[in-house]
């Protein structure tokens, strides 16, 4: 790895005002700073803070950005990337914040080292490597933060999408929405079984109107849930079998023997009421 020479570092430190000014111009030219998500003042503050840490961390050791003296600046970049993820910036916008620093630094090196081509090439390479390292680090953090956000949303959806509702005394319903996978089936099964125990309900209706597709795996999950409900001593009814889903089930040759299925929730509720010995009649006026 090419190391920075002491004279380059001195050069950068002595010309810092010019470099920072140029960098800010560069950021403005690429559109940053005029963004409604980030005020020019905030960009300016970030630039100054970065520069303070950057010039303090400059050294001739050539360890690259993984070195100990860069720890503080890495920490700063992590915060910056996280903040930009939450504000909805793209990864290239986040990285270009750093990459636009290249130009002012290159120009500075060109002006003062132009008479020594070997040193110029060497130092340009060192600066480039440094900025690239910082840029890649911030992109890495950006991506990680994005993944965390997605993970959190997935967990929240899992929680949200499994409500167990009570339709009548002794009749529970579970409207399922979204694709059924093993993890969701597990959560759904657990919460439904627990509610059956808590309420002492004898009939559970699983409504699959909101399930977009039924394949062999989903059918297997449904079968498992129904069997578990039966083992607990309650009965399960599956409702909301749409025509397309019925066709798929028949075409796949799935065996849903022993499971009571109904076309819609109303039919299932009517059956449940009948089983509990209730009848619904029109009130006479």
């Amino acid at each position: 790895m090419a190391a920075l020479q002491q004279r380059t570092i001195d050069l950068i430190r002595s010309h810092q005002d010019a470099v920072v000014a140029q960098w800010v111009d560069q950021l403005a030219a690429t559109g940053q700073g005029q963004d409604s998500r980030l005020s020019p003042r905030e960009v300016d503050a970030q630039v100054r803070e970065f520069w303070r840490l950057f010039q303090a961390a400059l050294s001739t050791s050539g360890t690259g950005v993984s070195g100990g003296e860069w720890q503080e600046i890495r920490h700063f970049l992590e915060q910056l990337s996280r903040e930009r993820v939450l504000k909805g910036f793209s990864s290239s916008e986040t990285a270009s914040f750093l990459f636009s620093l290249k130009r002012p630094l290159f120009e500075l090196a060109q002006q003062h080292l132009g008479d020594d081509p070997k040193a110029l090439g060497d130092q340009l390479w060192a600066i480039s490597e440094l900025i690239d390292g910082l840029g890649l680090h911030s992109v890495k953090v950006y991506q990680k933060t994005r993944e965390d956000v997605i993970q959190r949303q997935q967990e929240e959806m899992l929680e949200l999408s499994t409500p167990v509702v009570k339709l009548w005394d002794g009749v529970l319903a579970l409207p399922m929405i979204g694709t059924l996978d093993s993890q969701r089936t597990q959560v759904v099964m657990e919460s439904l079984l627990q509610r059956i125990v808590d309420t002492g309900s004898e009939i559970a209706i699983i409504d699959i109107t909101g399930v977009p597709t039924v394949d062999t795996l989903v059918a297997q999950h449904l079968l498992k849930t129904v069997t578990a409900i039966r083992l607990m001593g309650a009965d399960a009814i599956i409702s909301g079998v749409r025509p397309q889903i019925a066709q798929t089930i028949v075409h796949l040759g799935l065996d849903l023997q022993g499971i009571v299925t109904k076309a819609n929730l109303a039919d299932a509720l009517a059956l449940a009421l009948k089983r509990t010995g209730l009848t619904v009649t029109q009130a006479t006026r």
């Binding site: 657990e190 002492g200 309900s201 498992k224 578990a228 409900i229 083992l231 607990m232 001593g233």
Partner: protein, 122 residues
């Protein structure tokens, strides 16, 4: 050696499993129960497993076996009060206990057995 008590209520037998089942206990229960059914000519067996938190495939099979065994001796078996975790475990183990009657609690299990007996009565 510890045993699981079998209580008699009229022509029904009541088994409440209150301790962690181990294999020898399960086998003893099986023997005791079949012997009691024969001696008392019971018409129904009610197994309450509401206190059972952990099952393995052996215990699962034991429940099936007891049910099959009792039905040969003309007694009906109802398993009551299975915990959600136990139900999920049994399903994951592939033990669906086909042919075993289940109920939510002892009261409903009793009603179920009583109904059966009334139907059978001439």
């Amino acid at each position: 050696m510890d045993r699981i008590p079998i209580l008699q209520m009229g022509d029904l037998l009541l088994v409440t499993i209150q301790v962690d089942m181990h294999d020898q206990l399960a086998l003893t229960l099986q023997d005791d129960l079949s012997e009691r059914i024969q001696r008392t000519s019971a018409r129904g067996v009610l197994i309450d497993i509401s206190a059972l938190d952990i099952v393995d495939s052996f215990i699962g099979r034991m429940i099936s076996t007891i049910s099959a065994l009792a039905s040969i001796m003309d007694a009906r078996t109802v398993v009551v009060g299975m915990q959600p975790a136990v139900a999920i475990t049994l399903v994951e183990l592939g033990l669906t206990l086909t042919g075993v009657q289940t109920a939510l609690n002892v009261e409903r299990g009793m009603t179920l057995l009583q109904q059966r007996n009334d139907e059978d009565a001439p």
